[in-house]
C-alpha cells in the first residue's frame, strides 16, 4: 500500500514498498522479525542501486524463504555454510554484490567454522545475522544464543550454563579479527532501533563496495512462536531481557579514521 498526502494538490510519497520486496504475503509467523529485516535489506539494496548486481545466499532456517520475498538472485546454502558459498561467489564474480542472510542456529552453531574463516579472510561480503535466540524452524529448540534461564523445547527447565554453556556473543568474537572491517548490532525493538539497524546495514554494504573487508550486522529479532509469547510480549522481552545481554551498537569499525592525536 502506498499512502499519499496531498499538499497543494501535489502528491508526495511518504511510504512505498521497496521495489526489491516482492508483493507477496510472507510465510513467517505473525509478528516475526524476519519480515522487518527483509524489508530493511530490500530498502538498503534498493537505495544503493545494488539489486541487479546482488547474488544472495539463503540459509537453512525460517529465512530460507528469503528468495520468495526478495527480488534477487539467490542460492540456497546447506545449514551453516552460507559464508563458504558466498566466498565461492565472491572469488569468481568480482562485480557482484554478495550478501548472506543467516539465523543464529545457522551462523552461531553449525556454521561457526565458515563464518569465522570468511571473516578472517576478510572476504568482501555483507553478512546479515538475524539473532532470535532460538531455532525457529525446527520448533524452538535451544540455540547457542539462547539466554541463560530461557526455556525452550530442548531446555524445558531453562538454559543452565553448567550444562549448556553461556550464550555466545558471536559478533563481538568476530569483531576481534582484523579481516572484519565493520561489525554492528541492531534490533527490531522499535522504530528508532529499526532506523539505526538500517544505517548499520547501509554502512555494511558500503564497506563491501569499498572492498574494505568483511562486514556483519547482527539484528536482534523476535520469534514469538518459539518463545511462546504474543508478538507484543516478544518485543518487550527483546527490549528488556535480550538487548541487555547483547548490547546494540557499532562493535567495530576499522574503516573509521583513527581518532585523537
Amino acid at each position: 500500500m502506498t499512502v499519499e498526502t496531498r499538499v497543494d494538490d501535489q502528491p508526495r510519497v511518504l511510504y512505498a514498498p521497496p521495489e526489491l520486496l516482492a508483493d507477496r504475503s510472507t510465510t513467517y509467523c505473525p509478528g516475526c522479525g524476519h519480515g522487518v529485516v527483509h524489508r530493511l535489506v530490500a530498502e538498503v539494496l534498493g537505495e544503493l542501486g545494488l539489486g541487479p548486481r546482488t547474488i544472495a545466499v539463503a540459509p537453512v532456517g525460517c529465512s530460507v524463504f528469503a528468495y520468495d520475498f526478495l527480488e534477487l538472485d539467490f542460492v540456497e546454502a546447506p545449514h551453516g555454510r552460507a559464508p563458504a558459498v558466498a566466498t565461492g561467489i565472491r572469488r569468481v564474480m568480482p562485480d557482484a554484490f554478495v550478501l548472506t542472510y543467516q539465523g543464529d542456529g545457522d551462523l552461531a552453531a553449525i556454521g561457526t567454522g565458515e563464518i569465522v574463516h570468511a571473516a578472517a579472510r576478510g572476504e568482501a561480503i555483507t553478512a546479515v545475522f538475524v539473532n532470535n535466540g532460538i531455532y525457529g524452524m525446527t520448533g524452538g529448540q535451544m540455540a547457542p544464543t539462547t539466554l541463560v534461564g530461557q526455556r525452550t523445547t530442548s531446555c524445558p527447565n531453562g538454559r543452565d550454563p553448567a550444562f549448556a554453556g553461556a550464550p555466545i556473543p558471536m559478533t563481538e568474537m568476530l569483531a576481534v579479527l582484523p579481516g572484519v572491517a565493520y561489525a554492528a548490532r541492531g534490533s527490531v525493538v522499535d522504530a528508532s532501533s529499526i532506523g539505526r539497524t538500517k544505517q548499520y546495514l547501509k554502512k555494511a554494504c558500503q564497506v563491501q563496495l569499498d572492498r574494505a573487508g568483511f562486514a556483519i550486522v547482527e539484528v536482534l529479532s523476535n520469534c514469538p512462536i518459539g518463545w511462546g509469547m504474543t508478538p507484543v510480549e516478544s518485543i518487550e522481552h527483546l527490549r528488556d531481557a535480550v538487548a541487555p545481554v547483547y548490547p546494540p551498537g557499532v562493535i567495530v569499525d576499522r574503516t573509521a579514521p583513527a581518532r585523537g592525536g
Binding site: D73, V75, A77, A84, V85, G88
Partner: protein, 370 residues
C-alpha cells in the same frame, strides 16, 4: 579409450611433448587447461599435491584458488562459484569426501555442475594414507543423502585421468550435475610420462546461472521443494536426466577379450594389476581378458552382460572388500560364476594372488578350456 592422442604422421616431432608428471599434478594441470575457473580444497594425503599445484598455478592464470578451512568449506565454496556458472574443481581424499556428502546432495538437487576429485585412500575412519578403492559405494550411490546418482569416472592411468578431467567438465555441464573423478592413492602419487595433450570443452549457455538479476527475473538455485508433489516432480526430472546419462555416457575398455574364456573386471589401479596378472596367466595357457569400467556410474552393465555370452566366469578384482562386485552381480544376473579377490587397508593385490584366484575360478567353471 586412451588419453594419449596419436601424433599425426606429418606432425613435427618437436610439438610432441612428453613430461614426467605426478598424477595429482597432472589432474590439476589438466583442469586448468580445461578452463577451470576456480579451485577449492583442503590438505589431505594422498591428494595434497593437487591443492599445491593449484595454489601455484591458478593465481598465475588469474583464476580463483582458496585453501578452505575444511572440506565443508571447500565444497560449499565450490557450490557458490559453480552456481554462478563457473567451471569449478574441488578435490579431496576419502575422509574429506565424507564431509562433502551433504553439499554433493544439495548440488545434485539444485543441479549445479561441478567436478570433484577423490584420490581414495584406505578406510574406514582415518584408515591409512595408502591407496584404496573403498569409496566405490559412496561415489556410485550418489555420495550424499537422498535419491539421486552422479556420474563417476575412474581413470586407470595418469594420461587417462587428464583426459577424463575434460570429459568430467563436459558431462557436468551438459547434464547440470556434479561429477566425481574417482582416483586412488597410487594414481595420485605415482609419476608417469604423459603426453601434454589438453582439451578445453566449449562453454554452454548457462541460462540458470546466478549473475545478478539485471534486466531479467531473479534466478534461484535451490533444492528445497516443500510440497511433496513438487519434489516428486523434481525427482522425476532428475530420474529422466539420469536415464539420459545412462544412454549416452557409458564408458569402458576391453583388453585381450577376443579369445578370452575368463574375464577380470577391475577399474583404476586394480585394473593395472589385472593387466600384469593376465599376461602371466596367459603364459600358463589361460585365456583371460580384462573388462575395465571407466564410468562406474553409469555402470557398463549391458556390455558386461554381453560378455557373459562368451566367457565362462568373471573375477572381480578390487582394492576393497568387494563393492563394485555388487554392480557386477546386478549386471550378470547370475548368468556366470563370479569370483572375487580384494585387498584393503592400503594393500595392493599382487599379480600372483590374482593368478591363483583365476585358477580357482577356472576350476569352478569346469577346468581349463580345451
Amino acid at each position: 579409450m586412451t588419453a594419449v592422442a596419436e601424433r599425426p604422421a606429418d606432425a613435427p616431432f618437436a610439438r610432441r611433448t612428453r613430461v614426467l608428471r605426478k598424477g595429482n599434478e597432472a589432474i590439476a594441470e589438466a583442469a586448468i587447461r580445461a578452463g577451470c575457473d576456480a579451485y577449492f580444497g583442503y590438505p589431505i594425503t594422498p591428494q595434497a599435491e593437487l591443492l599445491e599445484w593449484m595454489a601455484r598455478r591458478m593465481p598465475q592464470e588469474g583464476r580463483a584458488f582458496v585453501q578452505a578451512e575444511s572440506e565443508l568449506g571447500a565444497i560449499n565454496m565450490g557450490l557458490g562459484a559453480a552456481a554462478c556458472g563457473k567451471r569449478v574443481l574441488v578435490s579431496s581424499s576419502s575422509p574429506g569426501m565424507s564431509l562433502m556428502a551433504e553439499a554433493m546432495s544439495y548440488m545434485a538437487g539444485s543441479e549445479v555442475p561441478i567436478v570433484v576429485v577423490n584420490v581414495m585412500r584406505g578406510g574406514p575412519g582415518l584408515g591409512s594414507i595408502g591407496p584404496g578403492q573403498g569409496d566405490y559405494w559412496q561415489a556410485t550411490r550418489g555420495h550424499g543423502h537422498g535419491d539421486y546418482r552422479l556420474p563417476v569416472l575412474a581413470p586407470s592411468s595418469i594420461g587417462e585421468a587428464m583426459d577424463l578431467v575434460a570429459a568430467s567438465f563436459e558431462i557436468a555441464e551438459r547434464y547440470r550435475t556434479p561429477v566425481i573423478l574417482l582416483a586412488d592413492g597410487i594414481l595420485g602419487q605415482a609419476m608417469e610420462p604423459v603426453e601434454e595433450t589438453y582439451r578445453t570443452p566449449p562453454r554452454l549457455a548457462a541460462d540458470w546461472a546466478l549473475t545478478g538479476a539485471d534486466g531479467r527475473p531473479p534466478r534461484v538455485v535451490k533444492s528445497l521443494h516443500l510440497k511433496p508433489e513438487a519434489l516428486e516432480q523434481h525427482n522425476r526430472h532428475l530420474r529422466a536426466k539420469e536415464a539420459a546419462i545412462r544412454d549416452a555416457e557409458v564408458r569402458w575398455a576391453g583388453e585381450r577379450l577376443d579369445d578370452a574364456d575368463l574375464a577380470i573386471v577391475a577399474y583404476g589401479t586394480a585394473a593395472r594389476v589385472a593387466r600384469t596378472a593376465i599376461a602371466r596367466a596367459r603364459e600358463s595357457g589361460m585365456r583371460v581378458g580384462l573388462f575395465r569400467p571407466i564410468t562406474l556410474w553409469p555402470f557398463p552393465d549391458a556390455e558386461l552382460r554381453h560378455l557373459a555370452t562368451q566367457v565362462r566366469g568373471f573375477l572381480v578384482l578390487e582394492m576393497s572388500a568387494g563393492q563394485m562386485l555388487d554392480d557386477v552381480r546386478l549386471a550378470l544376473e547370475g548368468a556366470r560364476p563370479i569370483a572375487f579377490h580384494g585387498r584393503t587397508g592400503g594393500m595392493v593385490p599382487m599379480p600372483g594372488e590374482v593368478v591363483a584366484a583365476l585358477h580357482r575360478l577356472e576350476n569352478r567353471t569346469g577346468g581349463p578350456a580345451r
